[in-house]
């Protein structure tokens, strides 16, 4: 298929349809409202469902209700909105339903700002809502990858029967890039008859299905949480995705960076290479599960003197990098999160100054 020039937010909406998701509920919030505007036009063309809910709280439960019926369903929002949806996300995780949430992150805390940020790393990877659960979190570095990750999110949500999140900063949603919608990423929906509340007649059964997260018996609740843990452990074995950049040869420092920030870092790495300075990078594509081993191994290279976590936040991913390094190397943070994004020159300047010390 030919490439088309699309805004990230619109491409995410189109990708959902290409992935077989014909159900979308959302509440407007900058900087991702274009997804809703795009799908308000597009869903009727494919006989899909578009509904603007009264709040992100309600939208979270519209997603839950639809997901509990076994239908592919998605919502998109941005940071404050995702905070409101986090209640529902916890219930969806507890009740084990597949659903896709997209967070086009803006600055926080509070109303923060509307410019790109990576300040929701903790919320996405460490919880957000209450209780023992995780989201499978994918972080695209551009419009093409946002499309591919959105398409992959639905079968992954079904494989693990849980919520999957696409975490893209505001720039991913707002920028326009050439994009191609791959056919080979379409996966037919899985059979959900053994758990979904899709109606007994529909599945030809006389047994009712119940979708719930309440387990008053401590042993049963513990068992449910062990089931969830087993899913997360399986994700750690099977779903870790990352990109290693300029790590084949020797390098003096290793950058860990994701999303928009990693694009800037790549340019900085290329520029430094032209000046004879080799810097490597590991770019996590999945933030949960986190590419711990890849980072540990890359940082362990003899030539690597420094490890830097470069983030559009006050240092959130750095905690996972530190954990990955297991004391092998020290990691330092470089970042800002008001909405300005470091230039390749600023990144290079920081790396060079680190190596001088």
């Amino acid at each position: 298929m030919a490439k088309v020039l699309m805004k990230g937010n619109e491409a995410i909406g189109e990708a959902a349809i290409r992935a077989g998701c014909l159900n979308y509920f959302a509440y407007p919030i900058t900087p991702q409202s274009e997804v809703a505007e795009y799908l308000a036009k597009r869903m009727p063309e494919v006989n899909g469902v578009f509904l603007q809910g009264e709040s992100e709280v309600a939208v979270g439960y519209m997603i839950f209700g639809a997901a509990a019926c076994g239908e592919r369903v998605m919502t998109t929002s941005s940071s404050p909105g995702v905070s409101l949806m986090s209640e529902a996300i916890s219930y969806i995780a507890g009740a084990r339903c597949p659903a896709v949430f997209v967070n086009i992150v803006r600055g926080g805390p509070g109303l923060g700002g509307i410019l790109p940020s990576q300040g929701d790393y903790f919320q996405a990877t460490k919880g957000g809502g209450h209780g023992d659960y995780h989201l499978l979190v994918m972080a695209p570095d551009g419009v093409q990858e946002a499309v591919e990750m959105t398409m992959m999110a639905f079968p992954l949500a079904e494989k693990y029967r849980g919520p999957v999140m696409i975490l893209g900063d505001g720039l991913i949603g707002q920028m326009m890039e050439p994009v191609e919608f791959p056919d080979n990423l379409y996966v037919p929906p899985s059979n959900k008859d053994d758990w979904a509340t899709n109606g007994m007649d529909k599945r030809g059964s006389t047994k009712k299905n119940i979708v719930k997260s309440l387990y008053l018996d401590p042993k049963v609740l513990n068992q449910n949480n062990l089931t969830l843990k087993a899913q997360y452990d399986q994700m750690k074995r099977e779903e870790i995705r990352f990109e290693a950049y300029n790590t084949d040869g020797d390098y003096q420092a290793l950058i860990v960076s994701y999303g928009t920030m990693s694009r800037v870092c790549k340019t900085a790495i290329d520029n430094m290479k032209a000046q004879g300075l080799e810097i490597g990078m590991i770019r996590p594509k999945t933030l949960f599960p986190f590419p711990e081993k890849a980072i540990h191994d890359a940082a362990s290279k003899e030539s690597c003197k420094r490890v830097v976590s470069i983030e559009m936040s006050m240092g959130q991913m750095i905690e996972d990098v530190e954990r990955s390094l297991k004391g092998k190397r020290e990691v330092t943070w470089f970042g800002q999160c008001g909405g300005d994004i470091y230039t390749p020159e600023e990144v290079a300047e920081h790396i060079i100054s680190l190596l001088k010390n």
Binding site: N23, F25, V49, L51, G53, E54, S55, V57, A58, V59, G60, Y61, M62, I63, F64, G65, A66, A67, A68, C69, E71, V73, E87, A88, Y91, A95, T197, N198, G199, M200, D201, K202, K208, N209, I210, V211, K212, S213, L214
Partner: protein, 245 residues
């Protein structure tokens, strides 16, 4: 002679956990009878609330989802939008629907979502142990209003049927009671009517059922019925408040 009275197919044979004298059992039965009479059990999805009826899915024999507190109308919206062929009902109490879930119920009603809400109004929080609800009567004691509801501080009880009836969107809005057989017969008719409107994809339908809570009211079941009749019915009048067309 054949069997003349039996458990509706839409009810399971589980014993309920409801207190003696509680009217949830009657409400469950009426809904189940309607599901049986319409022959829709195989395509019905119930949405349980948070509150005493949180485990309603153990007592009905159709598919069920369990909502968070107050969010059942949003979940029902999700179900009905993606599967309009399913028959969907929410079953909610007064704390769930009229307090924390006020936003969800108003907007679902205003969108004219084609599902049915059964609203149990017993003027108190049951499961959490007798706290004040938006429907608690002036002067009525609750664990969080130990000297009785002070309307100067907490306002007057909310009348949901009247409030929802102000919406311009067509809907079926009715209030009946579970206090005596004659009321119960009317309640059954209202529930049937509500499900029929849903089946015809006509409108949002809402049936409030004035109910009792002997345990948290601190009364015998019989005194509860009398108190509800004397105190609740005058403030929460019975009847149909709105019909489509």
């Amino acid at each position: 002679m054949g069997k003349t009275f039996s458990r509706p197919e839409a009810l399971s044979d589980n014993h309920t956990h409801y207190c003696p004298g509680c009217t949830h059992g009657i409400a469950h039965r009426l809904v189940a009878e309607v599901i049986d009479e319409l022959g829709i059990r195989g395509r019905t999805v119930g949405i349980a609330p948070v509150g005493c009826a949180v485990m309603a899915y153990n007592y009905f024999s159709c598919d069920f989802q369990e909502a968070a507190h107050g969010r059942a109308p949003a979940m029902a919206t999700g179900v009905k939008r993606v599967r309009p062929d399913l028959m969907v009902f929410t079953y909610q109490g007064d704390g769930d629907l009229a307090s924390i879930g006020m936003g969800e119920i108003i907007h679902a009603a205003n969108r004219g979502e084609k599902f049915t809400t059964i609203f149990i109004n017993n003027a108190i929080y049951g499961m959490t142990g007798g706290q004040m609800a938006p429907t608690t009567m002036p002067g009525q004691r609750a664990t969080t209003a130990p000297t009785g509801r002070n309307v100067e501080e907490t306002g007057m009880p909310i009348r949901m049927c009247e409030l929802l009836s102000t919406l311009a969107t067509p809907g079926y809005i009715a209030r009946q009671a579970l206090l005596r057989p004659k009321y119960i017969n009317k309640a059954k008719k209202a529930i049937l009517q509500a499900f029929e409107y849903q089946m015809a994809k006509k409108c949002f339908s809402f049936v409030e059922l004035v109910s009792t809570c002997p345990t948290n009211w601190g009364m015998t079941p019989l005194n509860s019925l009398k108190w509800a009749e004397d105190t609740l019915i005058p403030y929460y009048p019975l009847g149909e408040f709105k019909k489509p067309e």
